[in-house]
């Protein structure tokens, strides 16, 4: 066998999170992810995936980048810096948003939490923490707003899955029934002061807990204890990736990148062209909103058991028609699934019931065309 998973590591020493020692004690397979030593899996990633769908999983997300933006001009600075309209957020609420370059290309996708009138917390992908920090600082310069990299000030622990609220409830005085999706509260969890947010990247109900690094091991242990009788197990990045893929959520570097706009990914709704004042990338994005798209993000399922992977060609009638951005065997569906960018004409033919059979879609899986079916995203939607 030959495989990149079996190849030697990179020379640079990856950073440890406040929980790396815990992962080592749990016997996790650790991997260098965006310069951080992260748990890929603790045992079976399929079992971890299924636990999150049916009960709950515990994740260390301390590699994510955090920035605080504070000051009387913070809201205006973020309206200028991001595609969304953070000034319209009520304190305690959060939004999924993006930060784009002048040409409309995506620098990163973000969650922005408004903690108070003049205080925001922005969560960025680990690999993009540098570029996001630089862009925020540059764009905030003309406003009464301070941008601070807080990545080292937070451990981030996520509890995800249908049992999350039941697990968390005995550990906190916050009435979780009143915590809406995409809301955050300063809270006590197991007696430690945290920011408790009802957000996630798994397609399930769940919470993300921003804690002081010194409290991380204690909180992990208390959550593990509270969750044991509810089926909670620790879950690694491998499960996180298949969970977000089933939920149709984009991953930067796969579905999103500097050479794409939010519209390419079908996420034009995050671009608030009508918000007052300009914002970086507005002109390019306004043009892009009017144009016919050059490609369309679609979902594919395969009948074969061979798995489409990032970069594999999508074929229509045997001819190139697009490219797979993410693919995996889906634990929930039991078949290989993929997200892919395809030509709009191919997507249109396939979604029209009168012509659906004529597209003859396939994925070139290592030299063999495996028949594929176009499906609506997401692949999985939880019952709410």
């Amino acid at each position: 066998m030959t495989d990149s998973a079996l190849a030697g590591g990179r020379p640079a020493v990856p950073r440890r999170t406040p929980l790396t020692a815990v992962h080592e004690q749990l016997g996790a397979s650790l991997t260098d992810f965006a310069g951080w030593l992260m748990p890929l899996r603790y045992g079976s990633e399929t079992a971890e995936h299924n636990a999150v769908r049916s009960a709950a999983g515990l994740f260390d997300l301390s590699h994510m980048g955090e920035f605080s933006v504070t000051g009387s001009g913070a809201a205006a600075a973020l309206d200028y810096a991001l595609t969304g309209e953070p000034s319209a957020l009520k304190p305690g609420r959060a939004r999924y948003t993006m930060i784009c370059a002048e040409d409309g290309g995506v620098i990163d996708d973000l969650i922005v939490y408004r903690l108070a009138d003049a205080e925001f917390l922005i969560v960025a992908n680990a690999a993009n923490t540098g570029p996001v920090g630089a862009a925020l600082a540059e764009r905030a310069a003309g406003f009464d707003a301070a941008v601070t990299d807080r990545t080292d000030d937070y451990a981030l622990i996520a509890v995800q899955g249908p049992r999350s609220a039941a697990i968390l409830a005995p550990l906190t005085s916050v009435n979780l029934a009143e915590v809406k999706y995409y809301a955050s509260y300063p809270a006590q969890v197991a007696g430690r002061g945290v920011l408790l947010a009802r957000t996630g990247y798994t397609g399930e109900d769940g919470f993300e807990i921003f804690a002081a690094p010194k409290d991380a091991e204690y909180l992990w242990a208390e959550l593990s204890k509270a969750g044991a009788s509810n089926g909670l197990i620790p879950a690694g990045l491998a499960a996180r990736d298949t969970l977000r893929l089933e939920a149709g959520m984009p991953l930067y570097g796969n579905e999103l990148g500097a050479d794409m706009t939010p519209f390419d990914a079908g996420l034009g709704r995050v671009v608030k062209l009508e918000k007052p004042g300009g914002f970086v990338g507005r002109d390019a994005l306004a043009r892009r909103a009017q144009e016919a798209p050059a490609r369309q993000l679609v979902g594919l399922t395969l009948q074969s058991r061979r798995v489409p992977r990032h970069g594999y060609a999508v074929l229509s009638g045997g001819q190139p028609a697009g490219v797979v951005t993410s693919g995996a065997p889906s634990p929930t569906l039991g078949v290989p699934i993929a997200m892919a960018y395809v030509r709009p004409d191919v997507a249109a033919v396939t979604t029209d019931p009168t012509t659906a059979g004529t597209a003859d879609l396939a994925v070139d899986v290592r030299g063999r065309a495996e028949p594929a079916t176009l499906v609506e995203l997401p692949f999985y939607r939880r019952q709410s």
């Binding site: 066998m1 998973a5 798995v307 065997p329």
Partner: protein, 130 residues
Amino acid sequence: MTVPSELYYTPEHEWVALSGSSASVGITDHAQRALGDVVFVSVPAVGARVTSGEPCGEVESTKSVSDLYSPVDGEVTEVNPEIDDDPGLVNSDPYGAGWLFKVKLDETDGDVPPGLLSASEYTALTQEDE
């Protein structure tokens, strides 16, 4: 990590059990750990010719796909009938119920086929990886 002393190994992480003119083939504990959950194994068909060091199948796991290399020259006589329905056997019992295929060897002069590693040589190789 388990490396049974009675088996031989390839640098590509297959194991082979030699018994007279027959060889059983699978992937190692080290390999299954690195791959994670195996979801599909494509093995050569019964009657197919396999050649030492050449790809003869593939192993799909959640995160990646890998070529399966034949450790020996010969003809495939049997494939594990359980592996199609339960590829997870490769994870749970890589040297036992997770075996993949059997080969009738071309050369049966009693020597170990060339290019194979002993358990101690393979252990040393995997430690270099880490």
